[in-house]
Amino acid sequence: MIKLEPRGQHSKLMAWLSPVLAGVLTLVSGAILFGLLGQDPLVALHTLLVKPISDTYGLAELCVKAAPILLCAIGLAVVYRAKVWNIGAEGQLLMGGLVGSACALALIDIEAAWVLPAVLLAGMAGGLLWAALAAWLKTAFNANEILTTIMLNYIALNLLIWSVHGPLKDPDGYNFPESAMFSDSAILPTLIDGTRIHLGMVFALFAVVVVWVLLSRSFLGFQIKVLGLDASAARLAGFREKRLVWISLLISGALAGLAGVGEVAGPIGQLVPSISPGYGYAAIIVAFLGRLHPVGILLATLLMALIYMGGEMAQIDLGLPVALTGLFQGMLLFYLLACDVLINFRIRIPALSAGKAVPATAPVNQETAL
């Protein structure tokens, strides 16, 4: 039998090793899975994880996928530090896309430099308002934000679908559920010719730096962290809990909104029913995989974006279902949660140590082992 024994204190090493271990276990499980599906595990893993980024275009596509995930995840890092469990990045992203699109379509005839900033701000406002609803429900009625944000996700999705079938539908679009293509002045410029990589990635990297400074240098970030770690200490110190809940949710909502508008004004160029393949949910996994630390989140985002691309590649090259993406995401989160146990516990196998424990000096051995 295997026993878990409390370590007595956190293991800093395991806190960083656990995501790596989770990644390795995911790869091993994935390889076994591919084997069972009749694929050569190494070829399949290569298709999944190496082939998508073996050329410049692939790397650029990685950034295209990474930008929205990174924006959502970095926002989640802020709220999760406050132990406010915003599961609604997906809905906030969709609302960002929807409101940003509405703005872009309203300004479709105007060619001016201020159109793009207006569209981006509208998108951020959309995400922010959606998060504000959850913040209001939590602070005014003590409604659990996990439930409200999940439910708001569905409302946002249905609002978006209704919009592309109704008011925002392209009048010249042969009744397809799509908006008109945005004007060029509402489109994010691409960074490298011949690729789709756009300004959104720059925003995301900028957000990483800002959040890093917020969390590690600012007093606001400190208050958010205290609230998350120990709400009664925050109360005694006079930090205003409700205000912090509002601020952190609004930051996360605005960043998710920016991710959404970055999709419609970026690689898509119009409003369509499916602007996100679950980026907002993937961002939850990314935030935890990255230990809520901006740098960790950046690395985890790249991995998550790669899994998205690899899933598509496996579908094309190997004829495997695209559900593979979700499967790998799920395994990653599952193994991460399991490995996190090792931060506070160590594994002991009594069958192995029993032989040693019999002599009278056993306690001393244990003591020195600590």
Partner: protein
């Protein structure tokens, strides 16, 4: 050990030989020997963390020792679990009671006894009989939530006595009692011992041990550091055995009286939001600059509610009920009160006074943010670090460095850090709740000295504590709280432990103390 066995001809009731228990990260008991004779009241003395609790759990079958043996009436035995211990005749009264509030005394005791309880009317009769016999009268039909803390403890003791008992273990039994209740308890215990029951009395209160116990075993850091006959020692020699030679032990401090009131509380009433909380009723008192006011009381008599109202965690409808020289503050949040000169040391060190998973630096910032550590919303880490290191140096906090997490410090060290953090902000009013609770004697002395020093610099200090000896040692004026009402405050030299003990039991003139 042979020498201590010489007195009684019968085999000792209980003998422990070389009991060792190791937990990950600490050796709780290291080769402990202990002998208790029949009819003996034996004290187990030691500071928090010395290993007292582990040892008694070993005796009661809650913890299996890694090594060592237990002899019961001279025969080796392994206590399997508490039920087995009870069968042997071992009873235990825990520091924290395990009673169901909504059940009667009889029902509670029946639950604890399990199959041995018999039918309820017989048990109730037995409870009445036993409680009367030992001077702890109880009505077995009363529901537990109507009982005072002292009465609840009687229930726990009676629970042990309704069955044949040979060894009664009491864990810090006096910490929840008024001085008068302590006296009554001692009478009961002496009577029990006279009838042949052995008693293991676990405490860190030296005077009580000297008054009650025949012999004492002293633990320090998991080992037996001495054994003695308490009546032949004085409190300071006992303390020396508990803490070792290199720790300063507190002394008496000169008493002073302030004149300028800083904190004025007038007619403070508050209905508690907690259904089992205590409502504050017309609490009125002053704390003057340059004096320490102590408020005594048994836990759960409104201390938490009073402290929350004073700290600003609870805001008061009647703003003027709490008054600083700058004006009414009842409506201000903790942060605003801090900027008016308040500093606050809460009861819970970890999880209110300090964030367990944050470093000492970050914990210095936690309440120190008003002293120039934050500029334009940004934390100046250099200053925070300097502030934290100053606290550590000045208050001799034992820690590897200022990046150590609060949770990794011992209770005493963390408390020194928290008190230092508050004092170094130069408060005009310091409110400290149970400042030395669970702290070793060395740290307690350091904390007392720091408080006196702050007083002498002209700050007003309010100390709320359950430790009446501590309050008499450091307070200049003293009062007691009972059922949410506060007694009049008297200068400490003009009152006595007995009088304050009566106040703790609610025996004081009704709220006309507003003057």
């Amino acid at each position: 050990m042979a020498d201590t066995q010489a007195v009684p001809p019968a085999p000792p009731r209980l003998t422990l030989r070389g009991i060792t228990k190791v937990y990950p990260g600490c050796v709780a008991n290291d080769g402990i020997d202990l002998t208790i004779a029949p009819a003996e009241i034996h004290a187990l003395l030691g500071e928090n963390g010395a290993g007292k609790s582990t040892l008694m759990k070993v005796i009661y079958g809650l913890v299996k020792p890694d090594r060592g043996e237990l002899l019961w009436d001279g025969l080796p035995i392994e206590v399997r679990d508490p039920a087995h211990a009870r069968k042997l005749g071992i009873g235990m009264v825990f520091q924290h009671f395990s009673l169901f509030d909504t059940l009667t005394i009889t029902e509670n005791i029946a639950l604890a006894l399990g199959d041995d309880a018999g039918d309820l009317p017989t048990l109730a009769a037995r409870i009445s009989e036993v409680s009367k016999k030992y001077g702890m009268e109880l009505n077995p039909e009363r529901e537990v939530h109507t009982l005072s803390v002292g009465e609840r403890q009687r229930v726990e003791i009676v629970r042990c006595l309704v069955q044949p008992i040979k060894l009664l273990i009491l864990d810090e039994p006096t910490s929840v009692l008024t001085p008068q209740e302590v006296e009554t308890l001692f009478v009961t215990l002496r009577q029990l011992a006279a009838e042949g029951c052995s008693i293991l009395f676990i405490s860190h209160k030296l005077n009580e041990v000297r008054a009650l116990c025949h012999r004492a075993t002293i633990l320090r850091a998991g080992r037996v550091s001495g054994a003695c006959i308490p009546a032949e020692e004085d409190a300071s020699s006992l303390a020396r055995m508990m803490v070792g030679d290199d720790t300063p032990i507190s002394t008496d401090y000169p008493k002073v009286l302030g004149e300028e009131p800083f904190l004025q509380v007038r007619g403070l009433s508050r209905i508690s939001e907690d259904p089992f909380g205590v409502d504050l009723q017309q609490v009125s008192f002053d704390v003057n600059a340059g004096e320490i006011v102590g408020i005594a009381g048994v836990a759960g008599n409104g201390q938490e509610e009073l402290l929350a109202a004073l700290s600003g965690e609870d805001q008061i409808e009647n703003h003027d009920a709490i008054h600083f020289p700058s004006g009414p503050v009842g409506h201000l949040c903790p942060r605003q009160r801090r900027s008016e000169g308040l500093a606050f040391v809460p009861e819970e060190r970890l999880g209110r006074g300090a964030v367990p998973d944050m470093s000492l630096r970050e914990n210095a910032l936690l309440t120190g943010f008003l002293t120039g550590l934050v500029r334009r919303g940004m934390v100046s880490h250099g200053k925070v670090r300097a502030f934290a290191e100053q606290i550590i140096e000045r208050y001799k906090v034992k820690t590897p460095d200022s990046e150590a997490h609060a949770a990794s410090l011992s209770g005493g060290n963390l408390q020194k850090f928290i008190i230092g953090r508050e004092i170094m902000q130069g408060p005009k009013l310091l409110i400290a709740a149970h400042p030395t609770w669970g702290v070793d004697i060395g740290a307690a002395t350091a904390i007392h000295k720091a408080l006196i020093e702050l007083r002498d610099q002209g700050a007003a200090i309010l100390v709320v504590s359950e430790d009446i000896d501590e309050l008499f040692q450091i307070s200049d004026r003293i009062g007691a709280i009972c059922h949410g009402r506060l007694s009049p405050l008297k200068p400490t030299p003009q009152t006595s432990i007995n009088e304050v003990g009566r106040w703790m039991a609610g025996d004081f003139p009704q709220a006309d103390a507003a003057a």
